[in-house]
């Protein structure tokens, strides 16, 4: 399976040759349009990821012994550029982006051997189990408990805002093993079989009317102690496993995505004769400014990583920049379209199948999920600028 990788090792191939080879593969094997049916779509997606893996083009940043490509960072960037350019589907679930780096850093050799390859190949879909109804921005207050019983933990509690959990195989989950007041000091990181008895996943309807998130209920779910990553009560630092490089590449992907979106919005505005309005032009120009800056910042962060080994402060504000940008952009698009912008996807008269109004709704989550914009600003202020903590906040 790793044959194709070793056949053209990085040290004999130039960056541009690598780019060409990847581009050729992605073009030649492009899986075409996703089937409309959700279940068929997932199978189609899985088949694509397996093909990608089998050709040696999966897991660009992960070690070869676990099925990854182990690319140097500059080449990871090339990989992301080409992948994005080809418009082929990315990983299913959130395992590769979040759980995999944690496993690589904190997992035992057995765990890495067991879990990484099927994850990278896409055979197993992973979903996150962090958030809880009562512990939103204050994750350290989580209440889902795990009680040790012999070689197992028994898990009880509820998680929420879990993307992909409705078809996931493995849930990487934070549970409380310490006292209720133990906060960060009593949290353990467990991998839970989503198909185990006692696990119930219920789709959660959100403001878009869709079910992009789920709730997970654990009712006396038995989890082998072997599925614990790191030590008991020492799971908290694992949440913070630096995604530095992935995050930088992710920001570049977002920049490329929104580059297309701004171009499409501008085309729409012109098509409808709206650019005659200087107020519309001014706003569109502002989005043009911001989407370009998004790309320059991404490049700057990457350049810093390559030349100094670490990103500068610009990397800390990327997410806030992007999330506020995408909210502003979608809302402006609706405003620009006027009442026509209100028509939803299902309306035959909707503009571009209601994508803008849909985005207006879904991007409300951008400044909430994975830490609200307010929490992000706190973090930037404290961790990057070194401003003092609020004395009435629990210690970090």
């Amino acid at each position: 399976m790793t044959g194709s990788l070793t056949a053209t090792p990085a040290d004999v191939e130039t960056d541009e040759e690598f780019r060409a080879r990847l581009r050729a593969f992605l073009t030649d094997h492009h899986p075409g349009k996703r089937p409309r049916d959700v279940v068929e779509g997932r199978a189609w997606h899985k088949a694509w990821l397996a093909r990608l893996f089998d050709a040696g083009f999966a897991g660009p940043s992960f070690p070869r012994e676990y099925g990854g490509m182990d690319l140097p960072f500059t080449r990871q960037v090339i990989y992301q550029e080409e992948y994005n350019r080809a418009r082929v589907p990315g990983p299913q679930g959130t395992g590769l982006g979040i759980a995999a780096p944690t496993l690589v850093k904190y997992g035992t050799e057995e765990q890495k051997q067991q879990f990484l390859r099927p994850m990278i190949r896409g055979d197993k879909v992973w979903a996150q189990g962090y958030s809880e109804p009562e512990a939103g921005s204050d994750l350290p207050s989580l209440r889902t408990t795990a009680r040790r019983e012999g070689d197992s933990y028994v898990v009880d509690g509820q998680k929420v805002w879990n993307t992909h959990a409705d078809y996931a195989d493995i849930l990487f989950t934070l549970v409380r093993t310490g006292t209720p007041e133990s906060r960060q000091k009593g949290i353990t990181y467990l991998l839970i079989d989503a198909h185990a008895p006692g696990v119930t996943v219920r789709p959660l309807r959100d403001i878009t009317g869709g079910t992009h998130f789920s709730e997970i209920f654990f009712d006396a779910v038995r989890v082998p102690v072997a599925n614990r990553i790191g030590e008991e009560n020492e799971g908290w630092p694992l949440v913070r496993t630096s995604l530095g490089h992935e995050r930088a590449a992710g920001a570049m992907n977002q920049a490329a995505l929104y580059r297309r979106v701004v171009t499409e919005l501008t085309a729409l505005a012109k098509e409808r004769g709206l650019t005659a309005d200087p107020l519309v032009r001014d706003r569109l120009a502002d989005f043009e400014v911001r989407v370009r800056i998004m790309r320059y910042t991404g490049m700057r962060v990457i350049a810093d990583i390559v030349s100094r080994g670490e990103p500068g402060p610009a990397s800390s504000t990327s997410r806030l920049f992007i999330t506020t940008f995408e909210q502003d952009l979608h809302e402006f698009a609706v405003d620009m379209l006027g009442a026509d912008g209100l028509l939803l996807r299902d309306d035959p008269r909707s503009v571009q199948r209601g994508r803008w109004v849909g985005g207006f709704l879904s991007t409300r989550a951008s400044t909430i999920g994975a830490g609200t914009a307010e929490i992000q600003r706190n973090t930037i202020a404290e961790q990057v600028l070194g401003l003092p903590r609020d004395p009435a906040m629990p210690p970090r």
Binding site: G209, G338, A339, L344, R364, T372, M393
Partner: protein
Amino acid sequence: MTLTFTDEQEELRASVRRFLADKSPSEAVRRWMESEEGHDPAVWRQMAEQLGLQGLALPEEYGGAGYGPVELGIVLEEMGRALLPAPFLSSVALAGQALAVSGDDAAKQRWLPGIVDGTRTAALAVSEEGSSWTLEGVRTTATPKGEGWALEGTKTFVIDGGSADLLLVVARTDEGPALFAVEGADGVSRSPLTALDPTRRLAHVTLEAAPAVRVGPAGDQAGYLRDVLDLAIVALAAEQVGAAQACLDLSVEYAKIRVQFGRPIGSFQAIKHKCADMLLEVESAKSAVYNAASVAAERIAGAGEELPIAAALAGAYCSTTAVHAAKETVQIHGGIGYTWEHDAHLYLKRAKSSELLFGAPAAHRARLATLVGI
């Protein structure tokens, strides 16, 4: 100009609020918004029979109570607060007021009593494809035919246009735009729109040689039509203010009880400052809309030349306020505010929809600029 309320007006507000809390709580709103009809006909009847709300601001000679835009504004503010799904804005505030100011006794005699007692509903059709809430954008034509007229054109975003018994349609004649009444299905095809706000029904209406009756006194060049549009803007602004106040209330309540990091989130400056800014905007929006309602009342009494200015001002400011308040409400509620179960999204959808139906804030400001000589 009155900017404060009498005891009687406050009592009206309180009774409407009680009625809506009782008859149209969130569960009911959600049930009816997903229904075929879109609203509860029983509540609609009770509104008419018990409170007389449909007739409150319509003339006494047609069964109404003869109050005006100020009292109507109070009712609409409460309906906006409760997100009431009902054809009240369309039938009473838009069509009812349009008939009332038309100066056409025959038309009033024919249609107002049904609107007043709630047995019939009417809708006002102004916007067309690619246009907004303006007379200039009207391309639908009316040509004389026999005793009446024939209408040709397409109207869209007609509030409750799918269910209304009577359509009041703005159309062009050789003498300028005028208002026409269309009843029955002859030459009329209506299709529902699937749009952002689930609590309000919108329709697309195609008119092909639809028989119509002109509304408005003979010889009048429909000079009152601008008033019709402005009264609608003021009415919607009242609804928006009510919704914005509801958002502020929801946010403040939640901020007091939601605990994160061991303390209520309302003790954090970021949340406090959001709420303070919302209060500032809500109070300012009230000033704008109470003034506009007061000017509208003067207008109906034959004065109130400032109505176009007051309406444009209220339309611009209240729209922005309601959308901002709703967005902040989602944000302050965090994850819960993003769920279908919480009402935050209903306010967001209502606010965003209302912001664009009668002209976006910038369009209101552009009109205001012209009106005040900028």
